[in-house]
Amino acid sequence: MTYATSGHATVNVVRLGALATFLLGGSALMLVSTPARAIPPFARQTGLACEACHTVPPELTPFGRRFKLNGYTLTTRSPLVSDTDDHKKNTVWLTDLPGIAVLAQIGYDHYDRAPPDSGQPYPAHAQSDTFQFADQFSLAYAGAISDHVGGWLQLTFNQEAGSVGIDNIDLRYTDHTFDNKWVWGLTANNYPTFQDVWNGFGSYTIPNFNTTTLWSSGVAGAALSGPIINALGPGNVAGLGAYVFYDDSLYFEFSEYHSAVAGTGTTPVVDSTNLSVNGGAVDRFAPYGRIAYERDWGYHSAEIGASAMYIYRIPSVGYISQQQKLAAAAAGETYTPAQTFYPGVSNRYTDLSVDWDYQYNGDHNIYGFLGHVTHERQQNNPQLVAATFTGASSPIYTNPTDTLTQFLATAEYFYDRHYGGLVSFTRTTGTSDPLAYGGNGSPANQYMVFELDYIPWMNFRFLLQYNAYQVVANNQNPFNLNHANFPNSPGFPNVKASDNNTWVLGLWMDF
């Protein structure tokens, strides 16, 4: 049932669709992305051990940040093929060792309470244990491509998606002055914040092991709410940015993103026929600005930063393709034009973040405090808001404007890069919008992550993680959603946020 017809059932479809689409962040979209980590191609290229660039992967040291800002071009290997023109400029530069990496993530999850069966009503339930082998498997090229050009280009098999697709891409051109007072570069990437070099927010936020949750695994068909900037990962956008790193401390960036919807059955033209891919599409332009200040002293490195992104986004909720319209017409059914979204029917999001990243990178002891606060203002398209809605079916937002605030703070400690762990706290709150979020309209959620790590080698990381949920509002809770799927069933009794608590045994490796 992907298109709306009149009647009560339609409302449910739209509402569930709204949940699936608008409760973003920590969503399945995020899980398509495998962040770049300490990867052997960089080590082979530079001759440096992982610890040069990472405290513990993927968190970057000050050196690692500069390596990335310089476009991954630092090399101690001579090119196999190179030629220069009369002005000593390169005309070709080819490495003797292509920077190929294999990256794999394996996870074993145990859910504290057996989750609902998506095809049967209560008391049927799913297995409590799942084994993702491999959860993600990637091939990537990483490193210098020319003397001033470097990149990270990744292809990933994702178990939940069940397919191989383009993952993170970051291509850079960089240069710097002799004294490194000015480092500047251009980046073309497909993931806003993937280009960032600090770990308090964005695609590299610590904790960084992509746990398979009940939401992402599709049991509920929904996701925890969060800022939309978290969901613009590979497959949704592509953009070009310019940045300057001044005096080893001050970072400025301006990037501009456009829609780049990728996925099964999509066409280069983004219209109403492919908005369902990745839950919607960016409309028009999406500028992103970033400023950060880093100060390093002794073993310490501290950063404070801010970012802003302005996004027009067409939701996929209620989407009806032309084929479906025709099919509906042929079957004598009706559809609701107001719920056929296309470029122009877009919501406007303003995401403002403040982030911090303090790191102590000592001889044996490593610890850090990282996090961010992101505030999102979502101005809903009048065509979709209750007060101004004119269609034949139901509106999908209660308010003209919704806001959302996410706070994330993480503390971590590692000894000798072998043993360690972290504690992370995430809390999301926002305005009540019953039509968008269901139930009493709250988008709130709160959870903690406890993680113990054992790192026998820097490219092998074993972890034991416990995800503990304190607040999961309304229809974000998969145990409630099972009830919604089966209105005549008694549903799961005594549904609590903590029903979603999950143990994770994970392995990350790359070689």
């Binding site: 004294d179 007072k181 500028p287």
Partner: protein, 216 residues
């Protein structure tokens, strides 16, 4: 109409950035693509400065990495050659310098060594623990003959400035100094003389020497 406007803005921003870069006081260099053909200053700018002082002054920020400003040229040259042939196997040498030095030519090593030796050295600061510094001074200048400990001054100079092939120890990070001494003592870092000397030193004596040397 929006798309051209946005594109123009972006182009203008990049052009502006490029213009301001051209006006930057430090002259940009064209970095040769092949690290084996880089001259010393290009190597310093591209590689060494990331750990040993971002502006190329040889004064490192983190005590994980030594300050090289004013270090004896011959000493840097010797160590770089040891790194290149993997003749130094202390953990930091393995993690960082084996790779960095692996492709350097003798000429590049000589040039880099000369470059850092010509940078102004870091001056010491008055001790906050004069008693400990005095204890270190006695040990540094006189050694401990009853335990057959040679005076440091013989090899490292009256002010820790280094003598012949023996390195400058003045102006070094305190934590770095202590770590290297401990690594000599545990034979993690190769050097027969220093391994023998440090065998006889206690942790307190190493701390005292560190306190004294830091005033130089």
């Amino acid at each position: 109409m929006r798309k051209p406007a946005a594109t123009s803005l972006l182009v203008a921003a990049i052009a502006l950035a490029a213009t301001s870069l051209r006006d930057a006081p430090a002259a940009p260099i064209v970095v040769p693509p092949d690290p084996s053909t880089m001259d010393a200053t290009a190597l310093v700018s591209t590689a060494c400065s990331k750990c040993h002082g971002p502006s190329g002054n040889g004064v490192s920020i983190s005590p994980l990495f030594p300050t090289l400003a004013g270090q004896l040229s011959v000493y840097i040259e010797t160590e770089l050659k040891l790194f290149r042939q993997r003749g130094r196997s202390d953990p930091r040498a393995r993690a960082f310098m084996w790779g960095i030095a692996r492709g350097l030519s003798d000429q590049q090593i000589k040039g880099v060594a000369l470059y850092f030796s010509q940078q102004p050295p870091v001056r010491g600061t008055p001790s906050s623990n004069p008693t400990l510094a005095d204890k270190g001074k006695v040990l540094y200048e006189n050694g401990a003959k009853e335990r057959d400990i040679e005076a440091c001054i013989v090899c490292h100079g009256a002010n820790g400035e280094g003598v012949n092939t023996n390195p400058r120890v003045a102006g070094q990070h305190r934590d770095y100094f202590v770590r290297e001494m401990v690594q000599f003592r545990s034979r993690l870092r190769e050097n027969k003389v220093m391994q023998d000397v440090t065998q006889k030193l206690t942790d307190d004596e190493i701390a005292a020497l560190d306190e004294y040397v830091s005033t130089k």
